[in-house]
């Protein structure tokens, strides 16, 4: 297994379009790194540069201390799982998995052993003679994984490998991939736009937007301490509620005013807002749905950060309930206890957990305090 470094990596197409700008990342051995971001953010392009399917316009790709920019893909010791699986339709499952080893002229007995080992791990033993067209989506996905495993590569690259599966299968395969990572102890770079996959699988997540890395951190840190408004909005489902607010100082307290509502900040947040010189300026207030409460205890505890809301939609999820409401024109959602009595059309009071409020710069969208 191996470490991977990307140093100032850029991808510029001949038409001048910059898909990836100054990408820097140091991936440790056995890490499970996730590239996540909206469509067209450059995550797949970066993965393809690591694979060698795209040229690197500038910067360096280093695998295990060796610069790989000009090394042929087959000599980089990597394996890739494609979104469409890209199985060879005319070959059996066995041949699909054995193909790369045959090309390397590995002895037949060794190929057979490796293929059967991988098939056992992935529960494909009974399917080895079948052609890909006779397999279900999940089985094809496993064959694609098997094809990567038999090569025992230094680095696994996975390009949205689960996006063609239905929700249930996706959940199962996510667990399988996680187990596989532990079992093989391999370095994995995984591209997805599904943030559940990103949060559950990754040891670290790279959030990208418009070809620029926004933040590289552990899932928990990304969730709790997003570095800007984009990351805060992208990670988490339902996403973080946000609204522009005026920061003012009243009676020694820092208050955020929006839509006729007042939210008094706690001490450390007030200090940060003051220190940043934001008093009298516009900022963006952000709060995660689960940090908005409707219980009497919370309303009492966070009385200074409570506000009125008219419930537009009530969604019962079982373990919790979602309350949708508007603040001015902005749609907000609160994730509250399933035993809530609030229903569609009710006018109720809600409170924000003052310790969980995120505040962003209105202009730069960078986090002021979280």
């Amino acid at each position: 297994m191996a470490s991977v470094q990307l140093k100032n990596v850029c991808k510029k197409y001949p038409n001048g379009y910059e898909a990836v700008k100054d990408f820097n990342l140091d991936i440790q051995d056995k890490e499970f790194i996730i590239f996540v971001g909206p469509s067209g953010c450059g995550k797949s392009t970066t993965l393809r540069m690591v694979a060698g399917l795209e040229d690197i316009s500038s910067g360096e790709l280093i695998i295990d201390g060796k610069v790989m920019n000009d090394v042929e893909p087959k000599d980089r010791d990597i394996a890739m799982v494609f979104q469409s699986y890209a199985l060879y339709p005319h070959m059996s499952v066995y041949d699909n998995m054995a193909f790369s080893l045959k090309l390397k002229k590995v002895p037949k007995e060794e190929i057979d052993k490796k293929v059967r080992d991988a098939a056992r791990i992935l529960d494909l033993e009974k399917l080895l003679d079948r052609k890909p067209r006779a397999l279900s989506g999940g089985q094809r996905q496993r064959v694609a994984m098997g094809r990567a495993i038999v090569r025992s590569p230094k680095v696994f690259l996975m390009d949205e490998p689960l996006s063609n599966l239905d929700a249930k299968l996706r959940g199962q395969m996510r667990v399988e991939i996680s187990k596989l990572h532990q079992r093989l102890g391999s370095t994995i770079i995984y591209v997805t736009h599904d943030q559940t996959e990103a949060m559950t699988l990754g040891t670290r997540i790279v959030v990208m937007k418009d070809g620029i890395v926004q933040q590289i951190d552990t899932p928990q840190n990304l969730y709790d301490h997003p570095c800007n408004k984009f990351v805060a909005g992208f990670i988490g489902s339902p996403q973080m509620n946000m609204i522009a607010a005026d920061a003012v100082e009243e009676n020694g307290e820092v208050v955020l005013k929006f839509a006729g509502q007042n939210v008094v900040l706690n001490e450390n947040r007030a200090k940060a807002v003051k220190a940043g010189g934001y008093i009298g300026k516009k900022v963006v207030l952000g709060i995660r749905p689960e940090d908005i409460h409707d219980g009497a205890e919370a309303l009492q505890k966070f009385a200074k950060s409570s506000f009125d809301a008219e419930i537009k939609v009530y969604e019962m999820l079982g373990a919790s309930a979602l309350l949708y409401f508007n603040i001015e024109e902005t749609g907000w959602v609160a994730s509250v206890d399933a035993r809530t009595t609030a229903r569609t059309g009710d006018k109720i009071r809600l409170a924000m957990d003052t310790d969980k409020i995120h505040i962003f710069d209105y202009e730069t969208e960078k986090t002021i305090v979280d």
Binding site: A51, G52, L53, P73, K74, I78, A79, M80, F82, Q83, S84, A86, L87, Y88, P89, H90, F99, S100, L103, K104, R147
Partner: protein
């Protein structure tokens, strides 16, 4: 209610069947006529009103046809021409089609436009330059002469390019990552995926080559180097044609194609369906 629905369905089915029966008769009648004429005498074949069944079945026309044409040589030449034209068209079109569909090189689009232009021009305009080229190197009256215009096929290139374009790039990329070079990726992964298109092209090329008359007639003037189609054409006299003998010869010439059809029926039908020629 039900019975009237059933009646109208029956009428519709009967109408469809009638249409197909008439179509079949129109298609089959020339062959039946050819078969029956091949047993008639010259006089009977010209009689008005014509007779349908011959008065007496006589096989003399067949022996005459065999005597006036070197059938063995014609079969051999036709088979060789078809074989080489099919092999060359499939191999070269496959390579060119792959290049146009999956590789990036300078002037790719301009070169492909040339291929398309060649497809649009009537093939007759190439006959003179092609003949001159062959005549200069002394290759008229040879098998190569017969095969020459079919060495590469603009239609085949276009047809297989479409087939390759239908294969996702990711498959080629997977092969590339698995350790294939360009040639291995073509031979081991991409080409096998276009097998059905190749078979369709092979069938088309074979049928076209079998029916090709003008070029074989021009390039090979020696009767022993002719194909079935051009050989048969020599049976036509300038002033009078012995139709029964010609029909007998035509029937003999049909045999290989019928046999081929019986073996490759599936590919024939697939080929027609794939090229939109149905």
């Amino acid at each position: 209610m039900n019975s009237s629905l059933e009646r109208s369905r029956k009428i519709r089915t009967a109408g469809v069947y009638a249409f197909f029966v008439i179509g079949s008769i129109v298609m089959i009648f020339p062959f039946v006529w050819m078969f029956l004429t091949s047993f008639k005498t010259v006089e009977e074949s010209m009689i008005i009103p014509p007779t349908i069944l011959p008065e007496a079945y006589q096989t003399k026309n067949y022996t005459d046809a065999m005597a006036s044409l070197p059938f063995f040589a014609l079969y051999k030449n036709t088979a060789l021409m078809i074989f080489w034209r099919v092999v060359c068209a499939v191999i070269f079109s496959s390579m060119a089609g792959y290049a146009f569909a999956k590789l990036n090189f300078k002037y790719k689009n301009a070169l492909f436009s040339l291929v398309l232009i060649q497809m649009m021009l009537p093939s007759q305009i190439f006959i003179t330059p092609q003949y001159q080229m062959l005549a200069k190197v002394g290759l008229t009256n040879s098998i190569f002469g017969l095969v020459f215009p079919g060495l590469v096929s603009a239609f085949g290139t276009f047809f297989l390019r479409q087939a390759y374009m239908g294969i996702p790039n990711e498959i080629a990329e997977a092969a590339y990552l698995d350790g294939c070079n360009q040639w291995q990726s073509f031979v081991k992964v991409m080409a096998p995926l276009t097998k059905s298109s190749m078979a369709a092209l092979a069938v088309f090329t074979a049928v076209f080559a079998y029916g090709d008359l003008m070029w074989p007639l021009i390039v090979n003037t020696d009767l022993k180097m002719m194909t079935l189609s051009s050989g048969l054409a020599t049976l036509r006299g300038q002033f009078a044609t012995n139709f029964p003998v010609m029909m007998a010869g035509s029937l003999l010439a049909m045999i290989p194609m019928v046999v081929l059809y019986l073996f490759f029926q599936k590919q024939f039908i697939e080929g027609v369906a794939m090229t939109g020629g149905k």
